[in-house]
Amino acid sequence: MDAWSNVVEIISIVFMAIGAFFIFVGGVGALRMPDFYTRMHAASLTDSAGPIFILIGLILHTDSFLVAIKLFTVLVFILITGPTASNALASAALLAGNKPSLAVKQTTAE
């Protein structure tokens, strides 16, 4: 039983580290990408892949079943609202006239 709980600890730490890595990548991408849409795509990592791994790591880490259920509910809500926010942002930017840079290049090439 003790060995099993040690294994679960290690798995949860690995998951949280992967989640932290994804959020770091999202942050670096949001700064370094050339265009608004590519930046937003990178930043949306912090809404989808990052919380999935971090929250699964936390669910594995906790002892109480109630806390695990609450964390799972938080994960479901983040997964529903995060990509919606990114979609709304991209639609708003497109309607405001902010064209993706690659699209402009293609039309001028033709």
Binding site: I80, T84, N87, A88
Partner: protein, 326 residues
């Protein structure tokens, strides 16, 4: 180890505040103020203030950003003028001198986290010890807010109500402003994904708001947070479906009734305890024992607070949204 995280969060707070004050584009400032409020809420959580963190996140990061955006929609978003040079330099000098004076004063402050600081020795141990004895509820903050410092909360409910009345008298009744304009406001109805997801989420947000309202005695929560959450759900509905439909769903009469009846409920509880033989806002006379009376009193006044805060925040949003010329 937690300290390092706190220091990191506070450094980000200072950077965000500098960016807010120096940015020329007001839209960026408002978005940064949402981030600022969320960082402050995280710092409050690290400083063991769970109720305050919930309130700051709901009210500061949620409602305040919406109010600023609603006001910004009515005016231009670029800051054009720059103060004259002597104003900026003299302000910087005043600010620098005051900062040095304040930092010099902080060396006399009690050390951070000292359990023997004067602030922790006066009334606080008595409150901590007596909330479960007098009221039987686990949340000490709600006990103090509702009962021991009930007058302050009464004043606060009336301040919120006054702000609602003030905004209405400055910006006019939303329904009358809307009627002068024949243009239908469709909100975001042509955007499919936000509309579907938003409509799916609104019942859950209201449910969570009700949960926070009634669990204020057992976990962080209470009337203010619940009012802000339910108001945020209705504001989301108004943004997604257009303001006319939102005003059809919850008409202004209902909002006026909510605003006034919350404050009336709070004051009414106080007057009722007067008639039942106790002092003003002495909840002990409301029940058969002291504990049950106090719990009844706190339940009723938190309901009053939640009603008023919900009504006022939705009213302020409608007042701003109806003033636009679109």
């Amino acid at each position: 180890m937690i300290e390092i995280f706190n220091i990191f969060l506070m450094a980000m707070l200072v950077i965000t505040a500098l960016a807010m004050v120096s940015s020329r584009h007001l839209f960026i400032t408002v978005m940064l103020s949402g981030i600022f409020s969320l960082l402050v809420a995280a710092i409050f959580l690290f400083l063991d203030a769970a109720d305050v963190a919930l309130t700051e996140a709901a009210v500061g990061a949620g409602i305040s950003t919406v109010l600023f955006l609603g006001a910004l929609a009515l005016m231009d978003v670029e800051e054009t003028a720059r103060g004259e040079r002597w104003v900026r330099v003299s302000s910087l000098v005043v600010v620098a001198v005051t900062t040095i004076a304040l930092v010099y004063a902080t060396f006399d402050q009690p050390l951070f986290g000292d359990p023997n600081a004067p602030i922790n020795l006066h009334v606080a141990p008595w409150y901590i010890e007596n909330v479960p004895v007098h009221m039987g509820i686990p949340n000490i903050v709600t006990g103090i807010l509702g009962s021991y410092r009930g007058y302050d909360t009464l004043g606060e409910v009336f301040v919120v109500y006054t702000a609602g009345i003030g905004v209405l008298s400055l910006l006019g009744d939303p329904v009358k402003n809307r009627m002068n304009r024949p243009v239908q406001n469709h909100g975001l109805r042509h955007y499919l994904i936000p509309r579907v997801v938003g409509r799916m989420l609104i019942p859950f947000i209201i449910l969570f708001g009700l949960y926070v309202q009634f669990h204020g005695e057992y976990s962080p929560g209470g009337g203010f947070q619940a009012g802000a959450l339910i108001a945020a759900a209705i504001i989301l509905f108004a943004i997604l479906e257009g303001e006319n439909r939102a005003l059809n769903v919850i008409p202004m009469r209902v909002l006026y009734l909510m605003m006034a009846s919350g404050a009336l409920l709070y004051g009414g509880v106080g007057v009722a305890t007067l008639f039942m033989g106790g002092n003003f806002l002495e909840y002990t006379v409301l029940g058969s024992t002291m504990v049950s009376g106090q719990q009844w009193g706190i339940l009723l006044i938190e309901a009053g607070v939640g009603l008023t805060v919900t009504g006022v925040l939705i009213t302020i949003f409608h007042a701003f949204a109806a003033r636009s010329n679109l």
